[in-house]
């Protein structure tokens, strides 16, 4: 009950964190608007508009960075500035950390949904399956938050954890071949097919677009399995750090 009362304030803090809003909402919206102009009328070999693919990838790619706010709040409240006050308070800090994880993931998901809504309402993009795409955004948001909690609990220095989270986000964007094509190598191909949450999520949405639900579930379930595997790792590391 005591932890429940903090949820409202965590969400308020997230909503008033203008840097987060700038990086996870304003920047993608600005980029998508620019791309919608540049890629207007261009189609790929299959006849699909380039912008549709770009918008899908960008909406999902920004979810890779959603966990950074969870990491930052956990550090501030439980390991840095507010640590002493929180330690002295009669409430369950593990549950509180979990509530930050939930609020942060939900917030990241809402930003993703807002970007989707913007592309539909302003840029006129037609999403093949809203529900499925939102499900994948949710998976990506939760995965990113869990990974960031592992970083912040796993290393002593917060700046190292921040760098690791950037490596996680930028690394998977790079491996997805968004900046430049990856070399044709078994390792990169394996990562693209089974180890990169971004390519898996994009693949799952595309599979639904062509009606291949088996492939879509397969790819989405790999992301879900990653969450399932990393969740207990996060619990162990979190409990160890909060002890």
């Amino acid at each position: 009950m005591r932890v429940l009362s903090t949820l409202r304030f965590t969400l308020l803090r997230l909503m008033r964190n203008y840097i987060v809003l700038l990086l996870l909402l304003a920047v993608p919206i600005a980029l998508l608007t620019v791309f919608s102009v540049i890629l207007s009328g261009m189609v790929d070999e299959a006849g699909r508009p380039y912008f549709d693919q770009t918008a899908l990838t960008m909406v999902l790619a920004f979810q890779l960075f959603g966990g950074s706010t969870v990491m930052s709040y956990l550090n501030e409240d439980l390991f840095a500035r507010n640590r002493e006050r929180m330690t002295v308070a009669p409430f369950n800090r593990t549950l509180y950390a979990f509530s930050i994880l939930l609020a942060g993931s939900a917030f990241s998901f809402l930003l993703g949904a807002a970007i989707m809504a913007y592309t539909r309402l302003v840029l006129g993009l037609v999403w093949a399956n809203w529900g499925w795409t939102l499900y994948l955004i949710a998976l990506m948001a939760v995965l990113s938050s869990i990974v960031c909690v592992i970083f912040v609990c796993g290393v002593k220095s917060f700046s190292t954890a921040e760098r690791l989270s950037e490596v996680y986000g930028v690394g998977f964007v790079l491996l997805a071949g968004l900046f430049f094509p990856m070399p044709q190598h078994a390792v990169f191909e394996f990562m693209g097919s089974y180890g990169n949450p971004l390519t898996l999520s994009v693949g799952a949405v595309r599979a639904v677009e062509i009606g291949n639900w088996n492939e879509a579930w397969f790819q989405a379930n790999i992301v879900l399995a990653a969450i399932g595997f990393l969740f207990p790792v996060m619990l162990v590391m979190g409990r160890r750090r909060l002890r």
Binding site: R13, R81, E84, R85, V88
Partner: protein
């Protein structure tokens, strides 16, 4: 009744003992002033007493409970004003206090009432709906105090609550501490400003190098050095003064230099001012002489051989 106690508490960092077999008791209704220079172990003591820092040896008891002193029931009665300002920058003053009231289990109506009281108490009612990043340092410090008050703790621990603030906010904080005591709150107040302790503390504990050097009321502590007098010389060339020669004068207990000041502690009534002055004058021009009645600073100097804080940093 004893609200908090430490018995032979040891806390080491490597080979350095931050708390060196400390014994301390805090009784209900007191304001205990914990006095010590930077690095004396004040913050470590507070962290040990509140369960933030595990200790290596010894026994800690809170509210008579030494088996599980940091239980939620005991934490409910404890308030901590941290040395570092720990407020939420994105939340208004009121929302920040509501957050802390919530984690102490206060329900809606009670929460509202206590938050309003706490804001009123620290003089921030007019700023209830403002976010702290627009506050001055002193206002942030006051809000930091209010965060520890919404649940009305029986024992309030304040870790250097007046560091780096303007005199007006400092006076407000000291008045608030007095008011809290009148309302029945027991307070452990740490500082390295002896004027504050002299003003508010009902008992003083002097800490140095992780040890309790002396404790008692301000008056009792001053009594211990009443047989001494402090003579302060302002000199033109402090480095030219042969300190050993001054120390060798009969009755002189201690000589220290801080900036252009030479502080000499001498046996009261020894009548050796002339002798000391002649030695000082031989080696430097004397710009001023001052003989002080003993105060806590002198007590500290006598007990530890150190100034409580650098003169340059004094207010």
């Amino acid at each position: 009744m004893t609200l908090a106690s430490m018995q032979s508490v040891l806390k080491r960092y490597g080979s350095c003992a931050a708390l060196d077999y400390i014994d301390l008791e805090i009784h209900e209704g007191e304001i205990v002033g914990l006095l010590g220079p930077n690095g004396a172990g004040k913050t470590t003591l507070i962290q040990a007493l509140t369960g933030i820092l595990p200790v290596d040896q010894g026994r800690i008891s809170l509210f008579g409970d030494s088996r599980n002193p940091f239980s939620d029931a005991n934490k409910q009665k404890l308030g901590l004003v941290t040395q570092e300002i720990a407020v939420f920058e994105e939340l208004t003053a009121k929302e920040g206090l509501e957050f802390f009231a919530g984690i102490y289990g206060l329900r809606r109506e009670e929460k509202k009432k206590r938050v309003a009281e706490a804001l009123e108490f620290v003089g921030l009612s007019a700023y209830a709906n403002k976010v702290p990043h627009k506050f001055s340092g002193g206002m942030k410090r006051r809000l930091n105090i209010a965060c520890a008050l919404t649940h009305r703790p029986r024992l309030l621990i304040m870790d250097e609550p007046t560091v780096g603030i303007d005199p007006q906010s400092r006076n407000h904080i000291l008045e608030s501490v007095q008011k809290l005591r009148e309302q029945g709150t027991t307070i452990l107040y740490t500082t390295h400003y002896m004027e504050e302790v002299q003003e508010i503390a009902s008992r003083v504990v002097i800490l140095d190098q992780g040890q309790v050097v002396k404790e008692g009321t301000v008056q009792q502590l001053i009594e211990t050095v009443r047989h001494e007098e402090t003579i302060i010389f302002d000199v033109a060339d402090p480095l030219g003064i042969p300190l050993r020669q001054v120390e060798s004068i009969a009755g002189v207990r201690q000589v220290s230099v801080s900036g252009s000041r030479i502080t000499v502690i001498s046996a009261a009534g020894a009548g050796n001012l002339d002798r000391i002055l002649s030695v000082v004058q031989q080696h430097s021009g004397v710009l001023g002489i001052q003989a002080d009645k003993p105060n806590l600073e002198d007590v500290f100097l006598t007990l530890t051989g150190k100034q409580l804080r650098d003169r340059e940093g004094s207010r």
